[in-house]
């Protein structure tokens, strides 16, 4: 994964140079209000556009202006992006760090210029910054809770994400935290546990097939760390006629996963609404720009669970576990259309599908 990123970064180099020459894209609005800046790590992923829309909405509602820069997946471009943003003297800079270590000198420059900073979604450990994200350990807990509720005892299989991604381990610590008492009591047995290269669904499928072979199908529940891998798990279960009778977890609110939930093949998908994240962060930014102290923002806690255990102010949002029961939430939120969510669902079996 890492090498891939380097590779892509290399390929993007020429584009980056071009963008650098043009300077930072700026869209200054009415100079009367405050100025909120965002340094994005990459706009190649659709989701950041969703975040941006939510942030812009809050900023505009307060009569402030919004400026931004896109690092296009390059740590060095992000450093110069931030310098460019500082020049424009905003009140707050939100940073979606591409590299949470390499970004630290840039963050220091922000504080030295007397500007407040927010670590958006990706943590960097600077005591002067506010960290706002979804609670990843919480995601693991929510997954485990949903599966535990569906199957409080039996053989559990754990399909973990890529071993190189710290999130995979974060998630797993949340999962074990919830299941530990039942495991210690011997009610839950860990029969298969494996990392999945690249979080790839096809790898997860092979792993699940091997697990079922080894266990001669005696698997009662599967904790999969995301929805993509859950699709592989469900395909493997389907081959044994077991899909639907074995609870399976996931996260991300993948459209295909939400459809599987409606069909009863997947139990839960932990959904992190990036619009909520954008909204909360923008509200915090606006409040900080208007002089509210970080520690007195609503929902702020002290957080030191990062790599270097630096104590920071943080807002940790709780994600939503989407199950058959509350499938309506994602449809109402406009995240997925009813047609897509309910494709192939028999009438009258799922409330949200009618």
């Amino acid at each position: 994964m890492k090498t891939m990123k380097t590779l892509l970064a290399g390929a993007a180099l020429s584009a980056v140079i071009g963008a650098l020459a043009l300077g930072v894209a700026a869209t200054p609005a009415a100079a009367k209000g405050k100025k909120i800046a965002v340094s994005w790590k990459t706009f190649q992923e659709e989701r950041w556009k969703t975040d941006e829309a939510a942030i812009k909405k809050v900023v505009a509602a307060d009569g402030d202006s919004y400026i931004s820069a896109d690092a296009q997946g390059s740590a060095s471009k992000q450093a110069s992006d931030i310098e460019g943003l500082i020049e424009q003297k905003p009140d707050v800079i939100m940073v979606v760090a591409y590299d949470s270590d390499a970004i630290l000198p840039s963050i220091k420059k922000i504080s030295d210029a007397g500007i407040k900073s927010i670590a958006y979604d990706v943590q960097f450990e600077d005591p002067n910054a506010l960290y706002i994200t979804f609670d990843n350990i919480g995601v693991g807990r929510l997954m485990a809770k949903a599966i535990y509720k569906a199957k409080p005892a039996g053989n559990y299989a754990f399909i973990k994400g890529d071993k190189g991604d710290p999130n995979a381990t974060f998630l797993f610590s949340g999962i074990t935290e919830v299941l530990k008492p039942a495991m210690d009591a011997g009610k839950i047995k860990n029969v298969c546990e494996t990392f999945t290269d690249g979080w790839k669904p096809d790898n997860a499928q092979k792993e699940m097939e091997q697990c079922l072979t080894k266990q001669n199908n005696k698997v009662d529940a599967v904790v999969s760390e995301n929805d993509g891998m859950a699709s592989g798990v469900v395909a493997a279960l389907k081959a044994q006629g077991m899909a639907g009778s074995v609870p399976v977890s996931g996260q991300d609110g993948d459209l295909a996963a939400l459809n599987r939930i409606a069909l009863g093949e997947q139990t839960v998908s932990i959904w992190k609404d990036s619009r909520l994240l954008g909204k909360k962060a923008a509200e915090a930014a606006v409040a900080m720009a208007n002089g509210t102290a970080m520690s007195s923002l609503p929902g702020v806690i002290k957080f030191d669970k990062g790599k270097r255990h630096v104590m920071m102010n943080a807002i940790l949002l709780q994600p939503d576990p989407i199950t058959k029961a509350n499938l309506d939430d994602v449809i109402k939120a406009g995240w997925i259309t009813k047609n897509k969510a309910c494709a192939g669902v028999k009438k009258g079996t799922v409330k949200a599908c009618g």
Partner: protein
């Protein structure tokens, strides 16, 4: 000096050991035999290791072997093309991300265009879906080939670029979303749902046909050689080849048939068809899975292409000496372009297998597959220097790679350890192969 060489060979023939004489007479590739041996060692090793660690060996069960074949098929299909690419002294690093892109295209075509238009479960959907995959693969492959052959850019660079481009393109089409579910007929290509395997009777029939083909092939070859009064293999060697070929074929059929339908699926089937369930449960054999048949079919077709057609002959000649091939009047550029296009079509087939098997298409499908495809090819005895390599070697190489991975997953190996072992085996296999070649020449 030629006389001396001939005499000494004749002398050798008379005095060599029975084992050597056996291999010379049957013309069995000893490298092939070595690889089969190594694979059997791996299989038995996993079985014993499993027994020691978990108390029961699962590796050598029909179920695991059946799964192993299905899991190998997508990589195996691509490795048959990669052999010829590497034989031509080229490389294709883009197959993995091309698979993502093509898989995503066929997924989108089925789920978002065709299903709403034709209504789901229209049998045209899978036909068009497969055509989209093969067509897109052919176009992308031909484009790679054009840049290599006519623009003169090294294939390493062209396909490295392709790796990045197709990766981005796959993302761009669906924005990271997973497209699911696939068409229900299309799914059969993947070997997951019921009816995507052909059952015991058909498998026996197929095995019988293959046996018959082996006999007919050997007889035809003998008569052709007799026509020109060429030296023949001894009759006992022919008999041995027929027996060994049939034994392997029918043995494989027996294994895939011995894996019975999962109880839940058999029960459901019985209920649907009002079949009374006997006390021991219904026992239906799986037989060959469709993706395995596709991979075997591709293997046969590619072997035919490589050994029985002008195109294949030119591919090897170009690999042996590109300048000589050009001077002999071979249109090397055209052959290069067509070879990359063939590779693209094979990627299209693999994309169908992978997406159908997962019953979903996402842009992470196939990522890094190029590494496994190249590794399978190289383990299968293809020389990166070009000119040397066989299709069956690559197929076996793919099976060895997947055996290692599946076996270690069964034993709950840490995935870091898995990577270390798979990588080491790759290097070790090539080292052994080189020692072997050096001793042969």
């Amino acid at each position: 000096m030629t006389d001396a060489a001939e005499v000494s060979t004749a002398h050798l023939l008379a005095t060599e050991s029975p084992i050597k004489r056996f291999f010379r007479a049957t013309e069995i590739d000893t490298r092939l035999l070595g690889m089969v041996g190594a694979m059997l060692v791996i299989w038995v090793g996993f079985q014993i290791f499993g027994k020691l660690i978990t108390g029961e060996g699962v590796f050598l069960t029909p179920r695991n072997l059946w799964n192993l074949l299905v899991q190998t098929s997508a990589i195996a299909v691509m490795s048959t093309g990669m052999v010829l690419i590497i034989v031509m002294r080229h490389i294709d690093l883009s197959v993995g991300s091309m698979l993502s892109f093509v898989g995503v295209l066929t997924g989108v075509a089925q789920v978002y265009w065709l299903a709403p238009w034709l209504g789901s479960d229209n049998p045209m959907i899978w036909v068009v879906g497969v055509a989209v995959a093969l067509g897109a693969g052919a176009i992308l492959g031909a484009f790679n080939g054009f840049l290599v052959a006519y623009a003169g850019i090294p294939s390493f660079i062209v396909t490295l670029g392709g790796l990045i481009v197709y990766n981005g393109a796959a993302w761009w089409v669906i924005r990271g979303e997973t497209v699911a579910p696939m068409d229900s007929y299309f799914e059969l290509i993947g070997g997951t749902p019921r009816a995507s395997w052909i059952g015991s009777e058909a498998s026996w029939a197929l095995g019988g046909l293959v046996c018959l083909a082996i006999v007919v092939g050997i007889v035809l070859n003998r008569s052709a050689r007799a026509r020109f009064k060429f030296p023949q293999r001894p009759l006992w060697a022919e008999a041995f080849l027929i027996l060994a070929g049939c034994a392997v074929t029918l043995g494989t059929v027996a294994v895939v048939n011995a894996y019975a339908w999962p109880p839940l699926i058999a029960e459901r089937y019985a209920k649907e068809h009002n079949i009374p369930v006997p006390p021991g449960g219904l026992i239906y054999g799986h037989g060959f899975a469709i993706p395995v048949l596709i991979a075997l079919g591709v293997g046969v077709a590619m072997t035919f292409l490589a050994t029985r057609t002008r195109f294949g002959r030119y591919v090897y000649a170009i690999g042996g000496n590109p300048e000589a091939a050009e001077l002999a009047g071979v249109n090397t550029r055209k052959i290069t372009l067509l070879m990359f296009m063939t590779m693209g079509i094979l990627v299209g087939i693999s994309a169908c297998i992978t997406a159908a098997r997962l019953d979903a298409a996402s842009n992470s499908l196939g990522q890094f597959d190029e590494l496994y495809v190249i590794a399978a090819t190289v383990i299968g005895g293809t020389s990166l220097a070009g000119g040397v390599g066989t299709i069956y070697g690559a197929l076996l190489g793919a099976l060895v790679m997947q055996s290692l991975q599946s076996g270690m997953t069964l034993l709950n190996f840490d995935s870091a350890v898995k990577d270390v072992i798979v990588g080491s085996v790759l290097v070790f296999a090539v080292w052994i192969d080189q020692i072997y070649r050096r001793r042969q020449s």
